[in-house]
């Protein structure tokens, strides 16, 4: 129970002011009596807790007796208690001039300066009082001065950190890195800042540097779970999958039943289910396949005192106890009504951390309706929609952000993320195209066959899954043209077509299509070799899986942990598995038949010869089916193969392959027999293909 001595107060209450202090004061008896009454009333009101009224009485009294030091001091205390710090400062400054020996009042002046954020003035007071002959007061002043200097330094650090967070929110990653670098040169770098720099590096796709810094930071902060998760993701990105797995497993073991363990578990589950894309979604963006996730820019706790509930929430958030954050904010909202924007954002971050994307998305939508154009919300809202595979809605949010904030970093980032959406949801994209050409030598027939296609298309507004196009196709077979059959493997023809395709799944290359146009039989058999109308329709698609389908600058990862390819052109063994399958089943007017073709590969990416050249070994299966049962058009093939894949730039791919296959005919001819033909065969093939899309 430490408080101003009641005894002293009582003394002051009952003591005449004129005699109490100022020997020079001269006043009439009447004035003295009135002053005494005012003084007593002021103290009486103060004791009754009527501080505002007491302040008024003190003011009146001091107008009459301006030199009563004790009353002035007590008046200042009342003003300070009422939060009227500026007035308290005025009174205490006057008091200090009148009674400089009263050092405790001067100290109080220092604290009142602090309340007005006049740190320099306060520091001057405390520094002067350090030289007091009153040892205890000098010590208190020294402690206050030291604390103030520390607080000022801390405040500067907070301001610098807030600046970094603002830069991060504005997606100015390069500036984030520069600001944190500068902060680092000034002394110890706060963990949160170091982490922000890593996030910025990630956003700038400087994965190697991000990983280097993350590993260095982990050395000093082994307990930081957010860093561990980030580091695992980075390791995955550079192909050090086993190390990433190890970290996730460790997090699961060390933090059971926590959101951290949940997140780690999701990564592991994604990996074990070979759904690498899921792992990417759960962790970090695949620039060319998925929109990047929002960089976690925490809302810093306000420097002013938050309420007790808010303080708990910010601290929970700081500890990454997301479920409790959500619970606490929900409770607060239930009790007190709408919570602050910052708390709402904090809840979104927490829900995001918990992967409760649906609720987060609903809340984000409400917030967006409440505060349209909120820059700190748009990217997060889009990301939450992406997580739910609500691509088109995400595209709308990003497009709106881009349009509403033109020529800003937000627009740039929104555009980047928009382009990272599946094309069907990239509302900024209105053209698409693809090109493919291939030439293969078939040893069995000593023939060289070639085929290719070129499509250029657009999207139907409000039904972007419907994609009209124009294009051309061709097929060549060097063995054709003599004898019977006139075509060994490939139809020799050339077509100009127009058509439309329907994308069945936003993120998958699977289409229904129908096209029609003019076809010319290069062997002059059909329609006498004239251009003739033709059409075809059906379904086609392609999909690949596994870490072996990627190149080092791609996400997901490409290399094994021990043989990661260097950034330059050196070779390294990989051993990442892959599988892919492609198929086309269509009705061809010119053949008057349904024909189907499928191909699958299962193998390993053996080596990364350079960053852009990979070497694969695989098993290949081919399947051809003719609904009419044509003997030689119904076959299955199986065999080993190897290929070199060169990715010169962008989406361009050049593939040189060599395969040996054992083939089996399973069809029947028109007479429902195989005749005398052998039911199986083998063949050696070499091929070169080139393709791209835009």
């Amino acid at each position: 129970m430490k408080k101003p001595s009641i005894g002293i107060c009582l003394f002051l209450l009952l003591t005449s002011p004129a005699l109490a202090w100022n020997p020079f004061a001269s006043s009439s008896t009447t004035d003295a009596t009135r002053a005494q009454a005012l003084r007593q009333q002021a103290y009486a009101l103060n004791q009754q807790g009527k501080f505002a009224a007491a302040a008024d009485e003190f003011q009146q009294y001091l107008d009459v007796q301006p030199n009563d030091a004790q009353a002035a001091y007590d008046y200042a205390m009342v003003l300070a208690g009422l939060g009227r710090h500026a007035e308290a400062v005025t009174v205490l400054e006057t008091l200090h001039r009148l009674e400089p020996a009263r050092e405790s009042a001067y100290f109080k002046l220092g604290t009142e300066y602090l309340a007005l954020h006049r740190d320099n003035a306060a520091l001057k007071v405390f520094t002067e009082l350090q030289h007091s002959t009153n040892h205890d007061l000098a010590q208190a002043a020294a402690e206050a001065a030291a604390r103030l200097q520390a607080d000022v330094t801390q405040a500067e650090l907070y301001a610098a950190q807030e600046h970094v967070y603002d830069l991060a929110k504005d997606l100015k990653y390069q500036e984030v890195i520069a600001a944190v670098d500068e902060m680092e040169t000034d002394g110890n770098l706060p963990f949160g800042m170091a982490l922000q720099r890593i996030y910025a590096l990630v956003s700038l796709q400087k994965t190697d540097e991000a990983l280097r810094q993350a590993e260095a930071l982990a050395g000093t902060h082994p307990e930081a779970t957010d860093l561990a998760l980030l580091r695992a993701n980075l390791l995955l990105q550079v192909g050090r999958k086993s190390e990433a797995e190890k970290i996730w497993r460790q997090l699961q073991a060390d933090h059971p039943d926590t959101p951290v363990a949940d997140q780690a578990g999701q990564h592991l589950e994604a990996l074990t289910a070979t759904e690498l894309e899921k792992a990417v979604i759960a962790s970090h963006p695949a620039p060319e396949t998925q929109p990047p996730l929002a960089m976690p820019v925490p809302t810093p706790a306000p420097l002013t005192s938050p309420t007790s509930d808010e303080a708990v929430i910010y601290h929970l958030a700081d500890e990454q106890r997301f479920r409790e954050v959500v619970q606490a904010i929900d409770d607060l909202e239930r009790k007190q009504g709408p919570v602050s924007w910052n708390l709402q954002l904090q809840r979104l971050y927490a829900l995001q951390g918990l992967n409760e994307n649906r609720r987060a998305s609903e809340l984000a939508a409400q917030m967006a309706a409440e505060k349209p154009g909120a820059t700190d919300l748009a990217l997060m809202q889009a990301e939450l929609l992406v997580r739910q595979h609500r691509w088109t809605e995400a595209g709308k949010v990003l497009l709106a952000a881009k349009k509403e904030h033109p020529d800003t970093p937000l627009a740039t980032e929104a555009e980047r993320r928009l382009h990272a959406l599946p094309a069907v949801a990239d509302l900024d994209k209105w053209q698409w195209g693809e090109f493919y050409a291939s030439g293969d030598y078939h040893n069995r027939f000593h023939t060289l066959i070639g085929s290719g296609l070129l499509r250029e298309g657009t999207y139907v507004s409000h039904a972007r899954w419907l994609q009209p196009y124009v294009g051309l196709r061709f097929g060549l077979d060097t063995k054709s043209g003599a004898g019977d059959p006139s075509t060994i493997v490939q139809d020799n023809s050339f077509s100009f077509v127009g058509g439309v395709r329907a994308q069945l799944f936003p993120t998958e290359y699977v289409f229904l299509y129908a096209e029609g146009g003019l076809n010319k039989d290069l062997l002059d058999r059909r329609d006498g070799g004239d251009w003739a109308g033709d059409y075809q329709a059906g379904v086609f698609g392609y999909k690949s899986w596994g870490p072996g389908v990627t190149f080092p600058d791609n996400i997901p990862a490409v290399a094994t942990s021990t043989n990661r390819p260097p950034a330059g052109c050196g070779a390294a063994w990989r051993g990442d598995w892959f599988t892919d399958v492609g198929a086309d089943f269509s009705y061809y007017h010119r053949f008057n038949s349904w024909l189907g073709y499928g191909q699958a590969h299962e193998g390993f990416r053996l080596a990364q010869l350079t960053r852009s050249v990979a070497w694969d070994a695989y098993a290949v299966e081919n399947l051809a089916w003719d609904a009419k049962g044509n003997f030689f058009d119904n076959l299955g093939e199986l065999g080993p193969g190897t290929r070199l894949i060169w990715k010169p730039r962008g989406n361009w791919r050049v593939v040189l392959r060599v395969e040996w296959v054992e083939g089996f005919y399973f069809g029947r001819d028109d007479l429902n027999s195989r005749g005398t033909a052998s039911g199986d065969y083998n063949d050696f093939r070499a091929g070169l293909s080139v393709g791209t899309s835009w």
């Binding site: 129970m1 408080k3 009582l10 003591t15 009263r102 708990v312 929970l316």
Partner: protein, 551 residues
């Protein structure tokens, strides 16, 4: 148990119903569970709150000394983990946010199996250790608003707490001891304020700052494993009685208190400076004053010395005798010798007239720390709001129960405040007394200025009677008053001395509580060597006269 009707009738007749059925009153510090010699190590991150003149560490140490333990304080920078592990009781005190706590210190706290008390900020650092990870969460900063109500021991206490830290304690093995309850939108929002986890008790607030330390003080009894706690009591002290008070009114007050069967305390100022005659009025010139004091002593009044003289001029009330109230700093012209002389003179003034001051009260509770040492050399007991340091007299401390100060005195706290002519002071007194008397081993003590009327005294007494606890009888305690020439003892008080025959002789007298001489040693004993003077058991007060031979 149902009492027979005749006993109840007897109680009514004798006025005993005014007293509670409590057991012995408490005027001592209970022993901790690990024994009276147990040591408490306080490791502190700072001595005070940021930008404050108040010495919070001094306040905490006073609080801890309500239990009979030796308190040693070291800063965190000098804390030895081995010492921390070995201490009987360990207290970590962090009165400022974000304290810098070395890792070995935190590990030592976590490794301890004996009791640890964490007070104030910084517990979040401990919460990061594996031993406490996820078991509690406490914010590094105080809540924006003071707590107004605390739930403790099954009851809501309207106790304000200016500085407290919002916390959550999800650990199933934790025991929540206190919670801050905040009404919010028709509900009650609770935040743990004090909890135990294993050997560690956390108090997420600063109990040294405001009057809310009552609950913290009570909790200390559990922290120390105190098993025997005496009953609570109230204490009425008539303060500032000197020769210029209204002696007739004083006698009326004595009569009233005696009639009600309440022992009381009188703070006596033996001398008074008369500004008109420009002379010091001492007791020899004030027979009516002396007679009134003797009358009080004979009717349940226990006298204490409240300084030597009223130093202010012709005004009601007095000013600090040992403190420069205008400059709020120690008197520049006072020396320990001058302080001691005044104290001795006051005691002698009273003794010579058969008036026995049992304890000391620092005038206006304001004195330099060096002065307290002088007071302690004369009196073993004091009534105080302890001034915490020389930085200011405006930061004082009064606990809930008697406690030893660092000068070795047993300090009875003045914790109910001063009764004034205003109704509000009585209302405040009532609420405070209601809290204090419901806690263990407390003394709720108020100051009643001698210049107030008998009517105000009656109001005050009736309020205190509503607490249903006994009035403290200071004469029941163990008190020692030392002068160079004599030693005054009550109860089990002792005085160690080295005495040689050639120094002189030791005389002895015994008195009852009214100050009446009941026995005297006609042939004073005289033994050489180390001696411990203690009471023989005759009467209530005994005086040993150290009759030193003239050189």
């Amino acid at each position: 148990m149902k009492l027979p009707a005749w006993i109840l009738a007897l109680c009514l007749v004798t006025g005993l119903t005014a007293l509670s059925p409590a057991t012995a009153q408490s005027l001592s510090c209970p022993a901790p569970g690990r024994g009276a010699g147990a040591k408490t190590l306080v490791v502190y991150a700072a001595t005070r709150q940021a930008f404050s003149l108040a010495d919070d560490l001094a306040a905490l140490k006073m609080e801890l000394r309500r239990v009979a333990t030796t308190v040693t304080a070291v800063p965190v920078t000098a804390a030895d983990p081995n010492q921390m592990l070995a201490a009987d009781y360990l207290v970590i005190f962090c009165p400022q946010p974000l304290p810098r706590l070395p890792a070995p210190l935190l590990q030592a706290v976590a490794a301890r199996t004996n009791a640890v008390l964490w007070v104030g900020y910084g517990a979040e650092e401990l919460g990061r250790l594996p031993e406490f990870k996820g078991q509690f969460l406490v914010t590094p900063y105080a809540a924006g608003q003071p707590a107004k109500q605390i739930h403790y021991r099954g009851r809501d206490w309207a106790e304000p707490l200016a500085t407290w830290l919002p916390a959550q304690v999800p650990a199933p093995n934790a025991t929540i001891i206190m919670t801050v309850t905040e009404p919010a939108a028709g509900q009650t929002n609770s935040h743990p304020l004090c909890w135990t986890l294993g050997a560690v008790t956390f108090f997420a607030g600063l109990p040294t700052q405001t009057e809310n330390c009552a609950l913290f003080s009570d909790k200390l009894l559990d922290f120390y494993g105190v098993t025997t706690v005496t009953a609570a009591a109230v204490c009425l002290r008539i303060d500032g009685y000197h020769c210029r008070q209204d002696h007739q009114e004083f006698r009326h007050m004595v009569d009233y208190l005696a009639q009600r069967g309440h022992p009381f305390v009188v703070g006596v100022i033996p001398a008074y400076w008369d500004p008109e005659e420009h002379k010091l009025l001492e007791m020899d010139s004030q027979p009516e004053f002396v007679a009134a004091l003797r009358y009080a002593q004979q009717h349940g009044g226990r006298l204490i010395l409240e300084g030597y003289r009223a130093a202010r001029q012709n005004r009601p009330g007095t000013e600090p005798e040992f403190w420069d109230a205008v400059a709020d700093r120690p008197l520049t012209n006072d020396t320990p010798q001058r302080v001691q002389d005044r104290v001795y003179r006051g005691v002698r003034e009273m003794w010579w007239r058969g008036l026995f001051p049992l304890a000391w009260e620092t005038p206006q509770y304001a004195a330099a720390q060096a002065d307290y040492a002088e007071f302690a050399s004369c009196f073993s007991t004091a009534f105080e709001r302890m001034q915490l340091s020389d930085a200011t007299a405006l930061a004082t401390f009064a606990g809930t129960a008697p406690a030893r100060d660092e000068f070795g005195r047993l300090v009875v706290p003045e914790n109910l405040g001063v009764v004034t002519g205003q109704r509000e002071s009585l209302v405040r007194l009532y609420h405070r007394a209601e809290v204090l008397t419901r806690l263990r081993g407390t003394i709720a003590s108020c100051s009643f200025p001698a210049y107030l009327s008998e009517g105000r005294l009656i109001q005050t007494v009736k309020l205190l009677e509503q607490m249903k606890v006994p009035f403290l009888d200071l004469a029941e305690g163990d008190h020692l008053v030392c002068l160079p020439e004599a030693v005054f003892l009550t109860g089990a008080a002792e005085f160690p001395t080295t005495w040689q025959n050639d120094q002189g002789t030791i005389g002895w007298q015994a008195f009852d509580r009214a100050g009446k001489l009941i026995a005297e040693d006609a042939a004073p004993e005289s033994k050489s060597g180390n001696r411990i003077l203690k009471r023989r058991g005759d009467g209530d007060y005994e005086v040993f006269h150290l009759n030193k031979a003239q050189p």
